[in-house]
Symmetry: C2
Amino acid sequence: MNKIITISRQYGSGGREIGEKLAKALQIPFYDKELIAREAKESGFAKEVLENAEDRVTSSFLYSVAMGMNVYGNQEFGTPILSLDDQIYLVQTEVIQKIASEGPCVIIGRCADAILKEYTNVINFYIWASLESRIKRAINEYHLPEKKAKEAVMKIDKRRANYYHYHTNERWGKAENYHLCLQSDFLGIERTVKCMQLFMEQ
Amino acid sequence: MNKIITISRQYGSGGREIGEKLAKALQIPFYDKELIAREAKESGFAKEVLENAEDRVTSSFLYSVAMGMNVYGNQEFGTPILSLDDQIYLVQTEVIQKIASEGPCVIIGRCADAILKEYTNVINFYIWASLESRIKRAINEYHLPEKKAKEAVMKIDKRRANYYHYHTNERWGKAENYHLCLQSDFLGIERTVKCMQLFMEQ
């Protein structure tokens, strides 16, 4: 199997755990936010971006325009300025492309599905769950205070949807952006992993 | 297996064929637009709606308001008027509920997923495919003229999305409205059917 697997997931859906279990079952590397950040540091991408900010900004600016992103800056005087968020996204983009070029792996979040759009060996999954079960998971697994759990779950997902839309100009959780979308609390974690494996074996 | 299966599908995704094959494999009845219409005629629902239009309209009006639908009519004088489209939808709603109460089956389209929202034994699938493959299918299987195929595919899907949104106030093709969303041209028809069966067996 020479597949790059991306997993987009609602907060509290267990998507991260599912991704870890899938990576373990397939015996391939697993990357989440922390591991991508570490990779960025180690590979020197972050350093490069910050040191050569001007060059980066120019090409990133064209890239941003091409992607239909919002770009802040003074275009009239040729000095577009990327927000810190945009710069981080750019670093992540390069890291994710580097990771994908190294072989099969599982990547969680970070718009990896959109970043690797042109790759033919990518399978994109979207994991969601009922609000009720996400709140439950947020309390039991992530130890959120019971009173604030609902609000937190909804807020984090809103942020994820905004992040995705801002950087990709696409709608998060739209079925057509993924090869397979699954409701994790319908099947449960273990069986969701198994179903994803079966899908890939088909 | 005591499941009611609903399949929402993009035009040209092969969703109807997939539904037929799934129903055959599971040895349960299959209902598409034509069969639902026949059922409506035979069960006398259509007749009833038209004959008792006034009563129907009143309860349908409340139902419509509750569902957040558009309702045309003169509310001030207590004479709300349902469009023909709304009346047909209402008949279909009753027929689909009747069908679902009779036992396991596969229902294609008609907002069946939303109509049967409160049923606990329903599994909702969404089948989509790349635009390219849908155009190809429209030409080869539905014999649409090559020049008009792309426009037709997009127009029919737009109509389906509008129909769904109008009647359910929900977004068609939003992952969270379905237990499983599949890209049929990624797996092919036969393997998509198999994957759906595997999902249900999990």
